[in-house]
Symmetry: C2
Subunit: 255 residues, 2 copies
């Protein structure tokens, strides 16, 4: 049988509200197909539904920007209140220019706007809401994993993903920001190539590749298809963490 990976968008997941039981929504969707999770399945969640369930929204009308945000607003032309929220989520600004703020997020990765999102958060007439990333996406993934493993009695992986821009290349791609039960980076060091030579490519961004794959079927229009089942992952599952993916600053030539 050929090696085959299938990415299935889970249907019928409703708009998520703070306090919703996400595992219950995933299980209900799987029953709708119907599909039972089995050993080796990986569930990929868009950051947005995780953040919403965790109540990670902020009303910009309640934000009083500090001096750093005001200065950055002057430079970039962006909303000072939004920048105040972004700076609160960041360890530091990496690059900025008109219209663009790239930061090191408190969680350790480099991304635009600290992942703070203004789209698909409206629909609340009583405010000007933005959505922050989950506070601890590894922990979010881990809670989902436990709930699904208990329900299906199977060994599963869970990813929480977002879309990031990149250096050098146009277009955003899905990347993992939270990992549970899944090898974030796959170490193929020492495996021989076809001729028995040691492989030179040693570390594969496994979670990021699967995040990109899932991102394709999620689409970009927000919560339409915010959860994806990946079946047929051709390697073993394992334990992993966002931390495995983050290159230490002193090893990074591009900050």
């Amino acid at each position: 049988m050929p090696v085959e990976l299938t990415l299935t968008a889970l249907p019928g997941i409703p708009l998520v509200q703070a306090g919703d039981d996400l595992p219950e929504l995933i299980i209900a969707s799987l029953e709708r197909i119907p599909l039972r999770l089995v050993d080796g399945d990986v569930v990929v969640l868009a950051q947005k539904i995780v953040s919403k369930a965790e109540g990670r929204r902020v009303d910009l009308n309640t934000v009083v920007p500090g001096s750093e945000a005001l200065n950055l607003a002057e430079e970039t032309g962006k909303d000072a209140r939004l920048l105040h929220v972004i700076l609160g989520e960041s360890a530091g600004v990496v690059r900025s220019r008109p219209g663009l703020v790239i930061v090191e997020h408190k969680l350790g990765f480099i991304c635009a706007n600290a992942g703070v999102d203004h789209s698909n958060v409206s629909g609340h007439p009583d405010g000007d809401w933005v959505l922050l990333l989950p506070e601890d996406p590894d922990a979010s993934a881990s809670r989902m994993r436990s709930a699904l493993e208990n329900h299906f009695h199977a060994r599963l992986g869970v990813l929480v993903i977002d879309s990031h821009g990149r250096a050098w290349r146009n277009g955003t791609v899905g990347v993992a920001i939270g990992v549970a039960g899944f090898p974030a980076v796959l170490d193929l060091r020492g495996e021989p190539d076809l001729y028995g030579d040691a492989l030179r490519v040693t570390q594969v961004g496994a979670a990021d590749e699967l995040a990109a794959a899932a991102s394709i079927v999620m689409g970009q229009a927000g919560e339409g298809r915010p959860a994806v089942l990946a079946r047929g992952w051709p390697y073993s599952l394992g334990e992993g963490s966002l931390k495995d993916i983050l290159r230490p600053e002193e090893m990074d030539l591009f900050r």
Copy 2:
């Protein structure tokens, strides 16, 4: 029916030699499954089999390194002959340090070693061979597309992919270096989000996301599964090129 994307490694593709008819090998593999390509299918090819079929190998024993390669060898500790080949494939060195050379490839993208590969090229006892990237991967993809479209009478996409390291994040991921009949970057500008607000994320790295997805089922051990069929791409096909993916230097904050 749920949105579903399936990535199938094409079985039984032999070790490729210079001059081999790649479309013929792909068609033979598809017949082995058996599977007929249909409108919207995308065939993803590992750079390595394209380069081999195009005879893009160089025997390091025939290379006399110039002064730039000798200087870079001193700095990085790498083989001066290999560096001479890398420099010949490059528009310039972006970063270097012991053990590492990151260049702008002549084709326009940033990557380590100009994509010159030492692994899986041995098996030729009469030399010390390395493999260059295809001379024009868009053209390679285009030739494959024409051959497959003529054979299957279907509208198809083709990607030629490689694995690249990235700024900030550990692990390589599959990226597109050649595109035919496929929207390299998907422009979602203007499409409303769930609440009717304009989407802020406008450009999706479609070809790179599909490259990453295909890379998962290819694995890393060279030519074992060097071609993948992607079925269920949820957007329209279109015309695209590597050039669409390359961020112009003056727009890039990370060189």
